[in-house]
C-alpha cells in the first residue's frame, strides 16, 4: 500500500515508479504493467494538483499517460 503523497518528492516517486513499470514491462505481461503504470500515474496526477509545490509534475504525469496510450495503441514512444 502506497502512502498518500504529501510532498513533491512523494509525487515524483510515484512517477518514477510508473517509469520502472513501463521500462520493465517486457519482462512480464506488458498490458498488466501498463495498467499498473497508468493507475500509478493517475494517483500522481491527482496528488500533483493537491500537494503544495507539486504542480510542475502534473505535466510530467500527463506526458507519461500519453506515452502509455501510444504504447497500448501499438505505436511506440
Amino acid at each position: 500500500m502506497t502512502a498518500e503523497p504529501t510532498t513533491p518528492a512523494d509525487v515524483w516517486a510515484l512517477i518514477e515508479r510508473a517509469d520502472e513499470l513501463i521500462k520493465y514491462a517486457s519482462n512480464r505481461d506488458p498490458a498488466t504493467a501498463y495498467a499498473q503504470a497508468r493507475e500509478t500515474l493517475e494517483h500522481a496526477l491527482a496528488a500533483a494538483c493537491s500537494v503544495p509545490g507539486a504542480a510542475p509534475l502534473e505535466q510530467q504525469a500527463r506526458t507519461r499517460l500519453d506515452d502509455i496510450a501510444r504504447l497500448e495503441g501499438g505505436a511506440a514512444t
Binding site: W12, E20, K23, N27, T77
Partner: protein, 198 residues
Amino acid sequence: MKLKRGGQEDLDGRVPPNQRLTRGWPVLHASPVPKFNPAIWTFRVWGEVTNEFEIPWEEFRALPAVTTTSDFHCVTGWSKLDNTWEGISFAEIARRAEPKPTATHALIHAEYGYTANLPIDAMMDDDVLFAWSHDSAPLEAEHGGPLRLVVPKLYAWKSVKWVRGVRFLDHDERGYWEVRGYHNRADPWREERYSWQE
C-alpha cells in the same frame, strides 16, 4: 577484493554510489523491441556537419571497427561490469561527418523517435561507440541490437538502443528521458539522476 555485508564484492571504486552489481543483464526499455530488416535499415548523420551521409547496414558494418571493455550503470540501480563491445567509435563517425566548428552537441536518434542528447566532447572518448556485438556475440534485439550506442561514463539511458542516426547540433536539446525529468548530463559518479539536480 573485500566483501561487503550481503556478500557483494567491493570492486575498488568501480561501482557508483547506490548501485548494486548484477551478474545477469536486465532488460528494460520504453518501447517495444523493433524488428530489424537489414534491407531497409540505414544509419543517418546530419545537422551541423560538412558531410551529411546515410548508409545501409552492410556499409556501416564495413567501417573500421573497435573493441572496448567497459562498465555499464543503469539509473534504476544496477551495474554490470566488464562488458566487451565491438562496433564503430563515435569518433570515427565524427571523422567522416566533419562536424562544423559550431557543433557542440549530438542528438542520438533511435527507433520509435527515441532520442538522447550528449555533448560532443563526451562522445569523443575512446570508450564511446555504436556497438553491434556484446561479449563476442551479436547484440540481442532486447539489448538494443542490431546497433546501440555505448557511453560507459554516463547512466545507461544515454546508451541508446536501436540507434538509427546522429544529428549534430549547435545547441543542446533534451532527449526523451531528459524531457521527462531526468538529468541532462547523467554522471553516475555524481548521482545525476534527476533534472532538479541540475
